[in-house]
C-alpha cells in the first residue's frame, strides 16, 4: 500500500479514529498492529507470515535473554543476529548468489529455485530492527538491566515487540528505529498530547517532496534508460543526473517525513532521517546527514564492533570499506550497489587519510567548492542506482562526453531545474539560517505550509513507487 494512495488515507483515518476512542484505548497497541498487518499484507498477503515469523523469532530470543547468565546471553545474541541475517540473505540475496555462483556452475535447478524467490517489501528494514532489538537486549541484559519493564508479562512483552517490528509508518522504508529508542515510548496515548502542528508540518513537507518534486522529476529521469539516453545532448544528460539526485532525496526524505508525521499522530517520535545532506562538505558529513538511521545503525552495530578507529589507521580504513561495501549491498542485491558502497567507503578512507595530513583554510570559496565537489561525486555515484548494469552506466557517462557539443533541448532542462528548485531552496534556506531572523511567526510558517499544500493539490506528478521500497 502506497503512502500516496486513497486506500492508505482511509486506513490511517480509521486507525486514528479507533486508536483514540476513549473506551478502546486499552487496545491501542493491537489497533496499530492490526493496521500494520493490513498495510503490509495489502498487496501480498502471503508474505505477511514472514513479518509475523520475524516478530515471534525476535520476541522469543530477546525474552529468553532475561536471565543474567553471560554465556547464554552471548549465544542467544549470536543466534538472534544470525537468524535475522539468514532471513535477509535468503530472501534478498538468493537471486544474486544464484546468478553469481550457482548458475555459472551449471546447477540450473537450484539456480532457478533461488532466482525466483520473491523479495518481500521492507525486509531490509524490519530485519535490521530485529538485529537492533537483539543487540540492545544483549547490551542491556549484560549490564544487569532486564529488557522487560518491571512486572511485565510475556504477553505484554510480545505485544510491544509486535508493535516495534510492525509499526506501519516506518515498516517498509524506515527510518530504521532502534529498540532502545522505540520501546520506552510505548504507553497510553491521548489525543490531547499529540503535537498536531509538528505532525502536519512533517506530513505536508513529506507529501510535497514526494508528490510534487519526486513524482514530477521521475517522468523526466525516466530517460536515464538505455537506449533512450543515447540521443540526448551532454547537457541534457547532466541535467537528468542532477534531477535524479534531487529526485532520490525528495523521494526518500519525503517518505521519512511522512513516516515521522504519522508517528507523531500516534504519539511516537521517530528519528530524523535526513539533515540537509546536499550541503555536506565531506563524505563523512554526508553520511551524518543522509539516511541517518542507517548510518547510525551501521556505526553502532557494525563499525564499532569491528573495532572502529581504535585499532590503528590501516584497520580503520579497512573497517570503513567493509561497512560501506555491506551498506551498499544492503541497498540492493546487485553488485552495482556493492560498487556504489565501496566508492563511498573509498571516499571516506581517502578523506580520512587526507584530513590527518592536509589542513585547508576555512574560506567561503573553499567551502562552496567542497560542497560542489561532494555533491557532484555523490550525484555521479547515484547513476548506479538508476542503471544497475555497469555497461549501461558506462555508456551513459560516455554519452555525456560524446554528445557534449550537441545542441541541448532546453525545455526538459528547465523542467528538471523547476522541480529541483524546492530541494535547492530547502538546502539554501538551511545554509542561510544564520543570517535570517531566528524564528518565523506561526502565521508566516502557516502560509508557507499552505503554499506547499496548495501545490500538492494542483501540481502532483503521476503516483510512482517510492525508490527505497525496492530495498
Amino acid at each position: 500500500m502506497l503512502f500516496n494512495s486513497w486506500e492508505f488515507v482511509l486506513l490511517v483515518l480509521l486507525t486514528v479514529l479507533i486508536y483514540y476512542l476513549p473506551f478502546l484505548r486499552r487496545f491501542q497497541i493491537f489497533t496499530l498492529i492490526f493496521s500494520s498487518f493490513i498495510f503490509y499484507g495489502y498487496n501480498s498477503p502471503h508474505l505477511l507470515w514472514l513479518l509475523v515469523g520475524s516478530i515471534f523469532l525476535n520476541a522469543i530470543i530477546t525474552y529468553l535473554m532475561r536471565p543474567k547468565k553471560s554465556r547464554r546471553l552471548l549465544a542467544l545474541c549470536v543466534i538472534g543476529v544470525g537468524l535475522n541475517l539468514l532471513v535477509l540473505m535468503f530472501f534478498k540475496y538468493s537471486p544474486l548468489i544464484a546468478k553469481t555462483f550457482v548458475l555459472p556452475l551449471g546447477n540450473s535447478e537450484m539456480g532457478a529455485f533461488l532466482v525466483q524467490i520473491p523479495l518481500p517489501i521492507g525486509i531490509s528494514f524490519f530485519t535490521f530492527q530485529g538485529i537492533s532489538l537483539v543487540v540492545d537486549s544483549y547490551r542491556s541484559s549484560s549490564e544487569g538491566n532486564s529488557v522487560l519493564k518491571p512486572k511485565q508479562t510475556a504477553f505484554s512483552y510480545f505485544k510491544e515487540i509486535g508493535l516495534f517490528k510492525s509499526f506501519f509508518p516506518q515498516l517498509v522504508a524506515g527510518p530504521i528505529v532502534k529498540a532502545h529508542e522505540f520501546l520506552p515510548q510505548i504507553s497510553d496515548k491521548k489525543w490531547k498530547q499529540v503535537d498536531w502542528s509538528s505532525a502536519f508540518k512533517a506530513l505536508i513537507l513529506g507529501y510535497f517532496l514526494k508528490m510534487v518534486v519526486a513524482d514530477n522529476l521521475k517522468d523526466q529521469t525516466f530517460f536515464i534508460q538505455y537506449p533512450f539516453f543515447e540521443a540526448l545532448s551532454g547537457l541534457n544528460l547532466l541535467s537528468l543526473l542532477f534531477g535524479y539526485s534531487m529526485q532520490i532525496f525528495a523521494d526518500f526524505a519525503g517518505y521519512s517525513l511522512i513516516a515521522i508525521g504519522l508517528g507523531l499522530v500516534f504519539g511516537y517520535k521517530l528519528p530524523i532521517n535526513f539533515d540537509f545532506p546536499y550541503i555536506s562538505q565531506t563524505f563523512s558529513e554526508f553520511w551524518r546527514r543522509w539516511h541517518i538511521s542507517l548510518s547510525t545503525f551501521l556505526k553502532s552495530y557494525l563499525y564499532i564492533p569491528l573495532g572502529g578507529n581504535r585499532k590503528g589507521p590501516a584497520r580503520t580504513y579497512l573497517n570503513l570499506m567493509i561497512v560501506m561495501f555491506l551498506g551498499g549491498l544492503w541497498h540492493g542485491a546487485a553488485w552495482s550497489y556493492a560498487v556504489w558502497g565501496s566508492f563511498h567507503g573509498l571516499a571516506l578512507a581517502v578523506e580520512r587519510f587526507l584530513s590527518l595530513r592536509v589542513n585547508l583554510p576555512n574560506s567561503k570559496v573553499l567551502i562552496a567548492l567542497r560542497i560542489i565537489l561532494v555533491f557532484s561525486l555523490v550525484t555521479f555515484a547515484w547513476l548506479l542506482f538508476k542503471l544497475p548494469r555497469f555497461d549501461e552506466a558506462l555508456k551513459y557517462l560516455a554519452a555525456i562526453g560524446k554528445n557534449i557539443t550537441q545542441a541541448p533541448n532546453k525545455e526538459p532542462i528547465f523542467v528538471v531545474l523547476l522541480f529541483s528548485l524546492p530541494v535547492i531552496l530547502y538546502h539554501a534556506n538551511y545554509l542561510m539560517k544564520d543570517r535570517m531572523p531566528s524564528s518565523a511567526s506561526p502565521r508566516r510558517t502557516a502560509f508557507l505550509y499552505a503554499f506547499l499544500l496548495f501545490f500538492i493539490l494542483v501540481n502532483s506528478g503521476s503516483a510512482g513507487d517510492f525508490i527505497y521500497f525496492q530495498f
Binding site: P442, A450, L457, V458
Partner: protein
C-alpha cells in the same frame, strides 16, 4: 501541553487552512481569467491524460474523432468539429474506450490501425474511469492536469520565447538505427499475439460503438516505404482487413507509392503530417457522404 503551545498550534492550523483556501480561490480565478486553455503535458502520460480529460469535459461530443497511436497524434490542423484523441504510446482501443466514457458519441470515428501488440494502458484508463475523481475535476477545473501551475508556466514561456514543439534534430545514423529497430520489432510480432491482443481489443471496441450507430472508418498512417512494403507487414495488414471487415465499417485507402517523409522511419515530419491530414479529411468527407 501548555496554553501558549496550544495557542500557537491553533494559530498555525487556522492560518494553514485560510492560506490554503485563499490560494485555491486566487488560482482558480487566475486560470479562469488568464489561462482558460491550460497547458500541454511534460511527458507522454500527462499529455495523453490531458488530451483525454479535455475530450471528456467538452460540452458536446465532436462530429469526428481520431483515435490511434503516436503516428496519428501528429495529424494537426483538423476541421473545427474534429478531435484528435490519438495518444503516443497507446493504442486505438484505448481511445475508443475513452470515447465510451461519455454519454454522447461522435458521428464518425477514424480508427488508426498499425501492427502492434501493445496492450491498453490500465493506469490511464483507471484514472479516467474513476467517477469521484472525474466528477471533482469536472466541477473544479483547478484540479485538472492541464491547469498545473508548472504547465501554465511552461506554456507562457513557450509563447514568450516563440518556441514550438518540433522534431528533435536526429543524426542520419540515429534515424537509420531507429528505422532498423522498427524493422526488427515489426518482423518479431507474433501473429498469435497480434490477433489476441491488438485485434481482439479493437474488434470488441468498434463493435460496441458501431451498434450505437457510430460510423467506423479505419485508416493507416503511412510510414517509411521500406517498412510498409515488408512482407511481414503485408501479412499483418491482410489479417487486419480480414478481422475488421464488415459492411458497417469503411476503410480509407492508404496512398501507395507515397513520398511522405518521416523523422525516424515511422513518424511523419510536420509537413508530411499536414499533407496526409488533408488527404484523410477529404477521404473521410467522401466516405461520410455515402
Amino acid at each position: 501541553m501548555t496554553s501558549s503551545t496550544s495557542n500557537s498550534e491553533k494559530t498555525f492550523l487556522k492560518f494553514l487552512t485560510l492560506g490554503f483556501l485563499g490560494l485555491c480561490a486566487l488560482y482558480a480565478g487566475s486560470i479562469y481569467l488568464f489561462f482558460p486553455h491550460g497547458g500541454t503535458g511534460q511527458n507522454q502520460y500527462q499529455t495523453n491524460r490531458i488530451k483525454s480529460e479535455r475530450y471528456l469535459f467538452l460540452s458536446k461530443a465532436p462530429e469526428v474523432v481520431i483515435v490511434g497511436s503516436s503516428l496519428a497524434a501528429r495529424l494537426k490542423e483538423l476541421p473545427s468539429n474534429w478531435y484528435n484523441l490519438a495518444m503516443p504510446g497507446e493504442t486505438s482501443a484505448l481511445g475508443l474506450k475513452v470515447i465510451r466514457l461519455r454519454d454522447d458519441l461522435p458521428k464518425s470515428i477514424l480508427v488508426e490501425v498499425n501492427p502492434s501488440t501493445r496492450e491498453i494502458s490500465k493506469k490511464l484508463l483507471d484514472a479516467l474511469s474513476s467517477p469521484t475523481q472525474m466528477r471533482l475535476k469536472k466541477q473544479i477545473p483547478l484540479l485538472r492536469d492541464e491547469y498545473q501551475p508548472s504547465l501554465i508556466l511552461l506554456s507562457v514561456l513557450r509563447k514568450a520565447l516563440g518556441a514550438g514543439q518540433s522534431d528533435p534534430k536526429l543524426s542520419k545514423e540515429f534515424r537509420d538505427a531507429l528505422a532498423q529497430k522498427h524493422l526488427a520489432a515489426n518482423s518479431e510480432i507474433e501473429t498469435k499475439d497480434f490477433q489476441n491482443i491488438f485485434l481482439n481489443d479493437l474488434q470488441h471496441a468498434v463493435e460496441e460503438l458501431a451498434k450505437r450507430h457510430v460510423k467506423i472508418i479505419f485508416f493507416e498512417v503511412p510510414t517509411e516505404r521500406v517498412l510498409m512494403e515488408l512482407e511481414r507487414m503485408k501479412d499483418l495488414r491482410a489479417l487486419e482487413h480480414e478481422a475488421l471487415s464488415s459492411p458497417s465499417y469503411a476503410w480509407v485507402e492508404t496512398p501507395s507509392n507515397h513520398g511522405y517523409e518521416t523523422s525516424d522511419g515511422l513518424h511523419l515530419v510536420p509537413i508530411a503530417a499536414r499533407e496526409f491530414t488533408n488527404y484523410l479529411v477529404e477521404k473521410t468527407k467522401a466516405l461520410s457522404s455515402h
